[in-house]
Each structure stands twice: as structure tokens, then as C-alpha cells.
Symmetry: D3
Subunit: 253 residues, 6 copies
């Protein structure tokens, strides 16, 4: 089976992660997954939301947005409409939750990591590209923080990446859907996994359609294989910082 | 294994679906799942959102809300805050999407079914109880609509119900989490299925935790068994209307 | 004279006040006045609005809302519109003001009683049913508070109930208007009274119409008689708590 | 009995109504009642709200606002806060409703009269001064409209004015409360009446207090006498237009 | 060259500044420039915005609004729309910035001067009339503040006034444009100057047009001459307060 | 005189304009002016705002935003705050107005050009860089439109670019201020000019400071020289499209 862009069913689009993309943030990347491009930044703030004050624990929170012309048709800005749409809220909640799963909030101390994912070009899979890129930006910011604040432990406990899988043309299972495939897919599943191979999020949705248990299993396997490749891209982007993940400070290498 | 409320791991809480709960709506139920109570109503509107005008197709949309004291602590009203929270938006998008999976939007014609789920008492599982109850309210409204508008086909194609499953106390898989269990669960999964046994939504989330593929499989099996029981409650509540689901008009019985 | 629902002009609709309707709030009732049904809850919060901080005095505030299908036509949610309508604001200001008239704010101490009135079914008179029901919920919450906080005085000083009266069919004065009557009424008057027979609020409004002084007097008399009956329903609902109203703690019975 | 400003209990503050205060509106006045000063304008718009389209009937709607320094302490602008407060909404609903009671909406045709009441200086009684002044602005605009649109009937059917009365110092009934009196009053009543002596609105409110039926009667009588004097001021301000009120066009004089 | 209202190109409209226009504010004027009328008030608040707390410095901030019928067509209220428009924000930022240029924020101490400019009638030049009037209101408030708070230095350092100039009918340079001229002008320039003859703001804008450097110079000269006359009006309005501007307290006269 | 980044007073920062930066928009550039980087896109929409419907004329409108970490400190998103700030509104009004000055709105026909300027990295001069870059994106979109819609005339009539100039260190006039200079500048002036050397906008502002007429003239000369260089960058970026500006279709070359 080949796809309209000549990929195999289990083939990712080309992935590129440019680090230190912007000069101001503590961590920043431009991640490209095919034509999908997202600027991910991580900011360290020395305080936490009210519900954590005095707890000794930190927090990770994410915001997600698309430029108006990230898409084929111009999308009205949410700032102009005066409110965030449901899709945006759902995505930013997902990104934050996923990143927290690999963050040692106690090691972080009473600090917040703000992750911003701004999609400058969209071609399907923007939320999963955001997670994959945001992880790298966050790890880079964590590294700076460890150096400046004398943390004993690197606060990121494991790798984290995400991809989408789906069912197209009735019964074909495919990895990493682009916009055309995503629009036509009967079933769409987003999978977020850790470097240890555990699931953090699994969101399978039939779009005016349903899926069987066999399809569920096939999709999950496809996602697992794709995410393994994304970890390699992350490691390459992070260089020596990759070795600190999940370690005590000074322990790595 | 027994739980703090003495249920077995694979045991649902007591379920009750009162139909015709309110006098005004075309369909209305009060669904109770343990202490969780939701008023679900269905309203038929003779027009569709702009993107469907002239298409001959209908739409199903859902809104979800909680009374301020549905919860142990008073929650500020979203009307007072002036905007919907991310959790509310995510839930109402989920409910609408799930109901559309069993609606024949062409058979519905250019009409919108508005589903309102108002939680008057919350004890975990409000979104899944909303889906299970909303399905019954929608089927009742569809029945009235068929009688009044001469539809050729009953526009609901299959049964639909939902439940939650999760991992508590490190490794125990349990069905239908109440609030205490939900708060403590490492993993939480919402499953929406059709009467034919297909999945519509599968949303598994690690809360600052992860889950393995084996756990995923165990949770899905537990959910399947629970949802089978919910279908029986729906059939009892719907009475003769249950026979029309998925049929041409005049074909049932 | 009989009315379209066969009531006499001075006859209330059937009234029912179910207490402890919900498990979480400190006080809660479901009040039915004919087909009008309102869930009223009372919540005690251990702080006051800024303008009362340090004053030693408490506050009572109310919020009012209707489910979208409380009405014959679906009403858009105010949370979705992003703001409260004028009618809602006017009603919740009225409810709060009325309840404060029978609350000893100094005996309450620096606490706020939040009263929530959620109309689940509307058939005229929702604001007056809300006041009548909210009084019972508030008295129950006050009773719990007295037990837990060692107040010296029961902070509710008198009974409080409300009804509507109006002029229909040109010159007929009627008590407790339902929706059909209310829509057709030339004059509509809401009356809130205390157990001692004093007025707290009197709001008479000509709807594109006017009323004479004689009509004013007739309407007020009709309301007085109706409210006397509502006090009996409240006393029955409150049971022994009714005896504490207006008393020092320990003094009742 | 004399009051802190040496008025008798049944004495209005000095009233002044300047007509044609602004050059642009179809009708405009600056009304002063003591130190309370309100700019009232009336605008004719050749369309009606959606619920009246095609009905042949018109509408009257009012908006009310205060300059930030109309008051002793600066009040934050509602435009800056991004929403109207409950008090503002309540007042503008009252003004609109009151004016509609003396407007022949069918004679008006499918037109809207927008009434704007902007308080430039506040010293109690701003809502009643607004009604009294707005009536004059509206009558002036109606006169222009009759001349330009060939209406057969003058669309204002009767005079309309309003004042406040209240109970101060435990048991003194007073007319036309200024800010100091209003702040200290136990009971406050706003009364709106027509030239024929009928009531349009009667809103009596105990402020953490109550009032007896005798007090109600005394307050209403006091208001009636005060409003009679306001009609004289309106007639003087309107000049020959006053004669057209309630008449067929051509009939007056 | 004469203009449609018979003014010469370099002629201001009649200017009138009524001081102590309202009883409550610390400073208030009604300024008229032709038919443009603005109520300007100044309020002293004993605190500063967060970014200045502890700095020992004060702040000046301005708000600007128009009554709905200040204009020929009724303008919707920004409070009703729920947000400030871009034009309003731009104008109030300009007014605040201009006034701060002649305020010694250190001499002011940690206080905020709130300036409110409410246009009751608009005929072009509302922003420049606001600045010219607001300066007088602010100086009057500063005078009261000096008397009450023992400031060592009068916190206003110089006079400040503003006018508009523009190019009409292709190439005529005119001073103080009214609404008709402003609507037809190809180029519009607002100039704010100090008593010492220095510029504070210079905003020249081609409205779907452009202007040459010669035109720029001609417009600036015209504005300088006009503003000189506005200073005379301000001095007359301020009387003896005018002598304190730019002086140590006790030094003037 | 040299500056902290070793530039001469009349020296621009390095300028780079990358065209066709994004795949979806009709025109898109990434403009860099030193470290300031802005993505500018132009979108053609086949309709106009209500006030132009039926006029045969088109419109140009602009929106401006900054990524949260475009700046040294993270800035809260306006979408999250729910409203646009005054600075944003002022800038997007300026950009739209400037672009309209070189657009033949009649040649454009009833179409809207939406220009979006998203600052991904900020180091001073973001509004002027936005104008300079947006002009290029708009010209590219106009070129596509001419090819697809058979316009007779290229709808862009002239080049357009902008820069900032200012007074630093008391009396030094400098071109193209970066963030550090801008923060310290006593006077800041933004200048927008056309290829013909005419001014479109001239906005000089004293920041708690003033400027003389001589300084005004010096600043304007400095800006003129800088903008001449920006035109060269635009021409290079546009290539053959540059020749069509201001011409009939088919006339160029």
C-alpha cells in the first residue's frame, strides 16, 4: 500500500527539530513534521498556581495557538474573537497533561514551566508535533534551570513523544496522517508515549464512524513504532542534554 | 478485591433512568449512576449550523454544565465568569461527537438535535453518565420527530453508552469510578461504544502516571462488559422505542 | 370566577418542598409550585466580600439560572453567550436582597451564605418560588452552621416567602400566576413578606398597561393571604428547625 | 419636620428641564433635580428588534450610564470592565418599560425609539430623574417624527413622570430623597405614574428592613403629590408639544 | 481663503472653558471648541499601578468616551458591546501620555491622577479638545492636592494644549478642523505642545493620501500659532492657579 | 558617534526579507530587521466589510500579534486575556491605514486584503518592520490576484516602507532603534513613506519628554534616508513583481 504522498502506511513524514530557534526563551525549537511547523518555547517562572503554593511542587502548563494563515483558509484569531475555542482548550490541556507525566514536579520545586506551541504552518498532526517539539524545548529549559538553580535532580524523568494514526479508505491503517488524510479518516487516534514504552494518552475517535478492537490494536502498534523513531530525532536534537533525562544531577554520562 | 463502597472491581454502581422527567423538552431523562445525577434533554430545531445549510444533512450538538453545588465545594458558575472552561468544552465536544456516531444525519434532514446535560449531583463519571442518558433523551425526541415529520427512517442507527474504567491502588483495574476513586486513580479511561460492540471513543489518560499495553487491554475489556449492562438499562427505559433504533420507519416490531 | 386551570382567583397552585434534595450542599430543597420547579441550595463560605472585611458582619448573595429546556422553547445558556442577561441580574439581586432582610448579618459573623436557585422547569413565578425555596435551604444551612460554629444566635430572624399576583382579563385579580396567565397579564406584582406580615419587596409593573390605586390594594391583599399559606409549607418542611427562627440559640422550644 | 437640607417631608428639590440641550439628537434635555443632573436623548431608528419585524409595531428601549465622576468616589467605567452591572441593567429595563407604557407602539410603526440617559452628576434619584427627563426628550423626538413621517396619531398617549419616596429616621416618610437620605433610608420606593394618575411601576424595597401596609399607603400618597408637580415642569418644558400628547394628529389645540 | 463656516484658514473656533463644572471631582471643566463639548474631570487616587509601587513616583492615566448621541448618528455604547474600540484606546493612550509629559511624577508622589474625558457633543477635534480641557482640570486638582498634602513642588511643570491641522481641498492648510472638514481632509495632523513651545506629540496621517515635507512644515507652523491662543484660554480659566505651574510651592506670584 | 551595537547613528540594522515563507497564504514573508523577526502574510477574501458593500471598492485590514516569548519576559496571550490591548489595536490600525495609502481600492474591486503580522522575535521596531514586510506580502498576493481575476490595473500604486528614529542620550538622533535604545529614548518617531518620497504617517512622541522643531526636522531627514534603503530590500525581494507596482496590467517592463 502507498499513500497519496507516496509514503508507506508505517512511514513518518520527514522530521526536523531546530533547537535554539529564538533568542529570548529558556528553551525553543522549530519542529517540522512534513509541512507541519510549530515553534515550541519553554519559559521558567519562579512561582506556581495558587493550588500549589506552599506545596514544594512545581507545575507545567501549555498554551497552543495557530497563526491565522497556518491553514489553507484564513482562521479568525482567538484574540480577536475574545475567547479560546474548544479545540484549542482541548489541545493545550492535552499538551500540559502529557508533559507533566514525565516531569518530576517535586524535583522542579515551586516553579512553573510555561510551554508555548505556536503553529506557523499546519498540515495535520499539529498537536502531536507540538508535544514532540515541546518536550525538547522543555528539556533544554530544564537544563538551564539545573545549572542556575542547583537542582539535585534533573526534573525530566523520561522521553516523551506523540504521533497520530488512523484508518483511511475504509480499512487501511496509517501512521502520521497529513491534513488530507486526516480530513478523510474514519478513525483518528493520537498516542503519547514515554521513552520506557508506556502510554500517557491514547485518544481514539471515530468521526461519524466506529472502530473495532482489532483496529484499535493495529493502530496502537503502528503508533509505537513511529514514536520510537521520534525519540531518535529528539536525542539528536538534545545532544548531551539527552543523557541527563531521568538522572540525578552529576550522575549522567 | 472489593472497593471502599464494597463493589467488586467489575461492578457498576446502581443505574436508574427516569424518562419524561421534564414537561417541555421533546426528550428528557434524569439518569442516576450511583450518586451522579444528570438531567439530559433533547431539543429538535428546524435548522442547521451555517456549514450544513443546503446540504440536506442534520447535526447533533451538546452542551454540558454542572450546578454550582453539584460538587462538594461550590464551583463558580461559568455564566458568572463569562466563559466556558476547558473541561466543559472538552466534555461537550465529546458528547456531541459520540452521539453523531450513531445518528444518520441524512435521515435527520436539515435539523439540529440540541442535547443538554446538566449535572445536578456529581460523584465521578459525569461525562459518561451524560452520554448514556443523552442517548435515551435523543432517541425519545427522534421518535416524536418521526411521528411529526414523516421521516422514512428512524435517524438513530444504533445504541450508544459510555463508562469509565481506571487503575487504582497501583494495579487494580476497576469499572465505573466514583469521585473518590477517580481522584486517586493513576490512569483513567473513558470508553464509548455502540450496540454493535464497536468503539466510538477511547480516551485513556495517565494522571502524572503512565499505563502499559496490558493495562490498556484489561481496561478495555472491563469497559465492554460494563457497557453491555448499560444497554439493558437503556432498552428498559425506552420500551417500544428501542425496537425502532436502526430501522426503517414501519419496519420495527 | 375560575381560571383556565380551574383554580379560584385566590388559590395557590400545589406547593411541595422536598428538603435535603442533594447530598453535597449545607442546605438544599427542590421546591415545586405547580409545574414550576427550582433546586435551591445554600452554601456557607468562611469569608465575606471585600467591602465587609473586618466589619464583623456577614453577607447573603444569590445566583439564579434556568436550564435551557426549563422553558417551552430552548433558551441559550448565559455561559455560552458569555454574560448574564438583565433579567437574571435583576432576579438574583432581588433574591439576595430579600433574604438579607431576614438575616442577622452580625449574628452570622464574617461568613457568606451563597444561595443558588436553578430552575429546572418553568411555568411562571420562578423568582418567587426561588425566594420561598431558598429561605428553607438557607435556614437548613444556618442550622448546620449554628451546630458547627457555636453561634449564640440563630442568624435567621423571621420567615420569608414570596408570590406573584396580577390583573388578567382586564380586571380580574389573581394569585400565583402561571406562565399562560403571566404572559397575558396587564399588571404583574411580586410581593415578598416576612412572617411578621411586613413587606420586604413590592414590585408592581404594568406591562404596556397601568393600574389604579384600588387595584394595587386588591393585589396586595391577595398576596398577603397567599404568602400566609406558603409559611405553612415552609414550617412543615423545616420541622424543628422552624422553631429556632428568630431565637437565641438554646432558647427555642 | 424638616430635613438636613431644610426641605419639608413632602417637598421636591428644585427641578429644571432644559430642552434642545444637544444639537444632534432628535430630542434632548438636561434635567436637574437638585444636584442630580441627567442628559436624556431620544433617537428614532427606522427598524425594530427581530421579535417585532413584520408586526407593524414599534419599540422603545433605554440605556443608562453614569460618568465616572458623577459620584463622590470615582466609579470604574462599565466599558472598561467589559460588562454592564446588575444595577445598570435593572435601571435601563425599568426606564424602557415605563416609557413603553405611554407609547402607542402601533401608531409608532416599525420604528425604535432609543432613549439614552447619561448621569453627569448624581445626588440620589437618578433613575426617576432619568424617566422624567427621558419622557420629555421622547415627546420632542415624537413630534419631529410626526412631522417627517406623516403619522396619523401622536404616538405618546399620556404624560409620564417618576419620583422616589422613602422612610428615614425610623418612621419619617419623605419625598424625593437625595443621596444622603437614600443611603440612610430603611425603605426606598420608586413610583412611576401617568398623567391620568395610574401607576406604571411601584417598587418598594426594604434595605435590610421591612415596611408595613400603612407605610406603603403613606409613601404612595406622597409620591402621587410629588409627581403631579413634575407634570407641570414637563408641560412647561414641552410648550405646545404638550398639547399633542394622547391626540390624533391635527386634533390638538 | 475662507472656509464653509467663514473662518480663515488660521482661525480657531470659539473656545470656552467652564471650570468647576461638576461638584464631586477634584477638578472639572466643560470645554467647548465650536460645537465640540467635552466634560473633563481629574481625580486624585492615593495609590499607583503595580509597576510603580515603592518607586516614590506617581502616574497620570486617562479615559475617553463619547455619549451615544454626541454624534449625528447614534453610536453603540462600548459598555454595551463589552469592549473598548481601537479608536478609544488610541485616544486615551494619547491623552495620558501627553499629560504625563508636563507632570513631575516624582513631585506627585505615589498618587494617580485619573483624567476622564467624556464627549457630550462631537464636531471634530474631540481628542485635542480633551487634552486642552483635561490639562485645566488636572491643574485644578493638583492645586487642591498641594493644599491638602503639603507637596513641596507644584507637580505640573508646564502648560499643555493641543489642536488639529490638516489639508483640505487638495492643498489648503487649515487650523482646527470641524467634523465636515475632518471627514473630507486628505491629511490630518494632531499636535500637542507645551507652554515652552516644545512638541509632545505630532501625529500626521494621510487618509488614503500622502503629504510632502513642505506641507508638514506648513501644518506644524499653523498648529503652533493656534496652540498659543489655547494657552491664553487656559490661563484665563485657571486664574491664580496658572502662576503656580512649573514653580516650587510658595514661589509663585 | 557609535552606538552600543557599534552602528553609526544613521545606520540600519541588517535587513532580510524571505519571500514565500509559508505554503498556504497568497503572499508571505519573514522579515528580519536585526533581531526583530516578523511573519507577514496577505490573504485575499472575495468580500468587503458592510460599509463598502455595493461600492465597487475594496479594503485592506491588518492584524498584529506577538508570540508570548517574542519578548525577554513572557507576555500573556491576548487570546487568553480575552481582549486585545490598546497597543495592539493602535499598531494594527496603523498598519492597515498605511497599506491603504498605496492601494487603489477601486482597482481592487470588492475584495479585502487581510494582512497578518506575527512577531516571532522582538527587538524594537516591530511595527515598522511589520509595515515594511507586509507591503511585500501584499504585493505578492496582489500579483496572484491580478493573474487569477483579470484586474486591469495592478492595485498597488507605490512602494511603502517604515522605520523608527529617535533621540537618545539627550541629544543624539539615531535611525532604527533596537529595544535597548527604544527603552531609553526620550523621543521616538515612526515614519511611513511611499516610494515617491511622500509621508503617509509621522508619529513623534516624547516619552515624559519633549522635542524641538529642529529635532523634528533632523529626525525626519534621518528616516527618509533609512527608508530609501528599505525600498531597495523590497525591490530585491519582489523581483519582477516590483515592476508592476503603480502600473496598468501589461504596461510594466
Amino acid at each position: 500500500m502507498t499513500r497519496h504522498d507516496n509514503r508507506l502506511g508505517n512511514e513518518l513524514r520527514p522530521v526536523k527539530i531546530e533547537t535554539e530557534y529564538l533568542i529570548h526563551p529558556e528553551g525553543s525549537v522549530l519542529i517540522s513534521v512534513g509541512n507541519t511547523k510549530v515553534i515550541c518555547t519553554a519559559t521558567i517562572e519562579d512561582r506556581v498556581p495558587p493550588f500549589l503554593r506552599g506545596s514544594g511542587k512545581g507545575w507545567v502548563t501549555a498554551e497552543y495557538s495557530m497563526l491565522p494563515r497556518a491553514t489553507g483558509q484564513r482562521t479568525q484569531r482567538e484574540a480577536t474573537r475574545g475567547k479560546l475555542g474548544g479545540r484549542t482548550m482541548e489541545i493545550q490541556r492535552l499538551i500540559g497533561r502529557a508533559l507533566r507525566a514525565v516531569t518530576d514536579l517535586e524535583a522542579l520545586g515551586e516553579r512553573t514551566i510555561w510551554v508555548d506551541c505556536d503553529v506557523i504552518q499546519a498540515d495535520g498532526g499539529t498537536r502531536t508535533a507540538s508535544i514532540t517539539g515541546a518536550f525538547v524545548a522543555m528539556a533544554m529549559a530544564a537544563d538551564k534551570m539545573v545549572q542556575q538553580h542547583d537542582l539535585k535532580k534533573f526534573p525530566i524523568t523520561d522521553f516523551l513523544a506523540a504521533t497520530s494514526v488512523g484508518v483511511i479508505e475504509e480499512d487501511k491503517l496509517v501512521l502520521d496522517l497529513n491534513y488530507i488524510e486526516d480530513s478523510a479518516a474514519a478513525v483518528d487516534m493520537n498516542v503519547v508515549m514515554t521513552g520506557q514504552g508506556a502510554f500517557v494518552e491514547l485518544q481514539g475517535t471515530g468521526e461519524e464512524a466506529t472502530f473495532t478492537r482489532d483496529e484499535m490494536n493495529g493502530l496502537v502498534s503502528l503508533a509505537e513504532a513511529g514514536i520510537e523513531q521520534l525519540f531518535l530525532h529528539q536525542k539528536e536534537a538534545l545532544g548531551s542534554i539527552a543523557e541527563r533525562i531521568g538522572k540525578e544531577v552529576g550522575e549522567e554520562g
